[in-house]
């Protein structure tokens, strides 16, 4: 029973959701998907508790045994507790800085932008809420917020994420250098293509004195490199990409079929 029930549930859910794709009936097409989404969220919330338990267990052990780098574990656990506590603080009223602006877009929806402001630790934070509702209806303004949580999010978490993301620029440089080192004729070809795309991407004709010379004139009213770049990106690049995408789609479909029919059972530890 223990080994047969999960594949059976998987089969039923797989077939039902597959049929759902082909049915235009609203209760099937929309409501069922919404129900699945809500169920996933509920499971996710419970799983998050398991995740946090794992995090506390791992870092707690490090601190307890004074393992190398235990100080970082202490910072991690402190942050978990502080941010979770801040999140539990009841929401309070916030000042609305700018007047409510409601604009109707081309799809007939009204986008409402509300800019709010509050001061914390000497910093004045601003956040914009976007609310989308049908045009012509009363638009409720969300006046509740947790400023301290916003402050942590906007002034600690976001800059740290942006910093990590910005490292990518340097990594791209080193990866590009490694990719275009001429070790074979294919690498040489890649280098030539990369230079053409790079030159096509930037307005080289605007470089003083030498710009027009480097640009090598125009083809069909656009600069030569821009034209060559579009040829490289639109034809060989797109063809290769589409080949990969077709393979991915087939591979994904095959994996789904194997899971629906219980041939592959990763959700049971790979065993049946």
């Amino acid at each position: 029973m223990r080994s047969k029930l999960p594949p059976f549930i998987c089969f039923i859910c797989g077939i039902v959701l597959l049929l759902q794709f082909f049915s235009p009936w609203d209760p099937v097409e929309k409501d069922m998907l919404e129900w699945v989404g809500n169920s996933t969220q509920i499971v996710g919330v419970f799983a998050l508790a398991i995740g946090i338990a794992s995090l506390v267990h791992m870092h707690g052990n490090k601190i307890k045994r004074k393992m190398p780098g235990w100080g970082f574990s202490l910072i991690t656990l402190t942050c978990v507790v502080v941010v979770a506590t801040i999140g539990l603080i009841p929401a309070n009223d916030i000042k609305i800085k700018s007047p409510t602006v409601a604009k109707t877009n081309i799809t007939g929806e009204t986008n409402l932008f509300v800019t709010t402001t509050h001061t914390l630790f000497g910093f004045q934070t601003e956040s914009t809420f976007t609310n989308t509702l049908l045009a012509g209806k009363n638009i409720p303004v969300n006046k509740k917020s947790v400023p301290m949580f916003d402050w942590f999010y906007n002034y600690i978490f976001m800059p740290l994420s942006a910093t990590t993301f910005s490292l990518l620029a340097f990594y791209i440089m080193s990866a590009a250098y490694r990719a275009v080192r001429i070790k074979s004729w294919e690498a040489g070809l890649l280098l030539v293509a990369a230079i053409i795309v790079l030159l096509g991407q930037v307005p080289i004709e605007q470089i003083p004195i030498l710009g027009k010379f480097i640009a090598c004139g125009t083809i069909k009213d656009i600069s030569t490199f821009e034209y060559l770049k579009s040829i490289i990106l639109d034809f060989p690049n797109t063809a290769a990409k589409r080949g990969i995408i077709i393979g991915i789609a087939l591979g994904g479909l095959a994996t789904s079929i194997k899971i629906i029919f219980g041939i592959e059972r990763p959700y049971m530890g790979g065993q049946g």
Binding site: I248, I257, P266, G270
Partner: protein, 290 residues
């Protein structure tokens, strides 16, 4: 019953039961599913199937052997996808096989997770793998752990693990976004042998550049079956290859017919141009509009 009554019935079915606009998708799905099930059936009956080599998978043993020789751990990252993402599922299948070999070699494995549900499934997968390898007592639940659900915080944490623990082999399998190069370049700087696999088209070039071996696109889905050598799973690979062959043939025919239509618009004999237009419609979602 006259035609108009049939039309009314079809409209009713189209409105409530079956969207005829998606009929071509269903036909494709049935044909493809049948092909896969046919080859699985043949594999089950003991027919030997030839499956092409995947160099990146053949190198897994080399990477694990190196980690064992150096007495270092193996890092396995299963991407940033959620548990329902087909790439994450493929990454889990590979993890099962990698963990089994890791258990055979008596090496340590580190599996940092971005999703708590994925973590729970992977704990179970690795535990089963250790049991299959005959070493259930060596399994450590704490080696598969949750970090955070935030993309860049996760990337930073994994980069930190690579810098501190210096694993001898890094596996990056599954769904990746901007953090792919951050992980692969950091791993490369630690001198680890790196094997990556993703079906995210925009991240494939980054992995090709920064890793020693890369599973490109569909190879990620094939890897689990290839490693397990399970005839049932290999049968599905064969079906997949045949389906791809059929699609290539259809594409070539389509290209020829559409080209004839474009270059010879006035050609009427045999209505080749019209056949080309019909061919294009097969791949169009609104083929059977009522």
């Amino acid at each position: 019953m006259d035609i108009s009554q049939w039309h009314i019935k079809l409209r009713f079915i189209n409105e409530y039961f079956f969207d005829f606009n998606k009929a071509n998708v269903l036909i494709g799905l049935v044909i493809f599913g049948a092909l896969i099930l046919y080859f699985i059936y043949h594999a089950r009956r003991g027919k030997k199937l030839f499956v092409r080599k995947i160099p990146a998978i053949d190198s897994v043993e080399e990477a694990l052997g190196r980690a064992t020789e150096l007495g270092k751990s193996v890092l396995y990252v299963s991407g940033i996808g959620y548990e329902g993402d087909v790439q994450t599922i493929a990454a889990m299948n590979i993890l099962g096989n990698v963990a089994e070999q890791v258990a055979h070699y008596d090496t340590d494995i580190i599996v940092p997770c971005i999703n708590p549900i994925v973590m729970t499934i992977e704990q179970e997968l690795v535990k089963q793998a250790y049991t299959r390898a005959g070493r259930p007592e060596d399994y450590q639940e704490s080696s598969i752990f949750f970090i955070t659900t935030q993309q860049f915080a996760y990337a930073s944490a994994v980069c930190g693990i690579m810098a501190r623990e210096k694993p001898a082999a890094n596996f990056f399998m599954g769904s990746f976004a901007a953090e792919s190069l951050l992980l692969a370049e950091t791993g490369s700087s630690t001198g680890a042998i790196q094997i990556a696999g993703t079906a995210s088209p925009s991240q494939i070039p980054f992995f090709i550049v920064a890793c020693d071996y890369t599973l490109i696109g569909e190879e990620l889905f094939a890897a689990g079956a290839y490693m397990s050598r399970d005839p049932l799973l290999l049968g599905s690979l064969k079906g997949q290859d045949i389906a791809k062959f059929v699609i290539i043939i259809l594409m070539i025919i389509g290209i020829c017919l559409v080209s004839i239509e474009v270059f010879f618009p006035n050609l009427t004999f045999g209505s080749i141009g019209q056949i080309g237009t019909f061919f294009k419609k097969i791949f169009d979602i609104h083929m059977f509009t009522i």
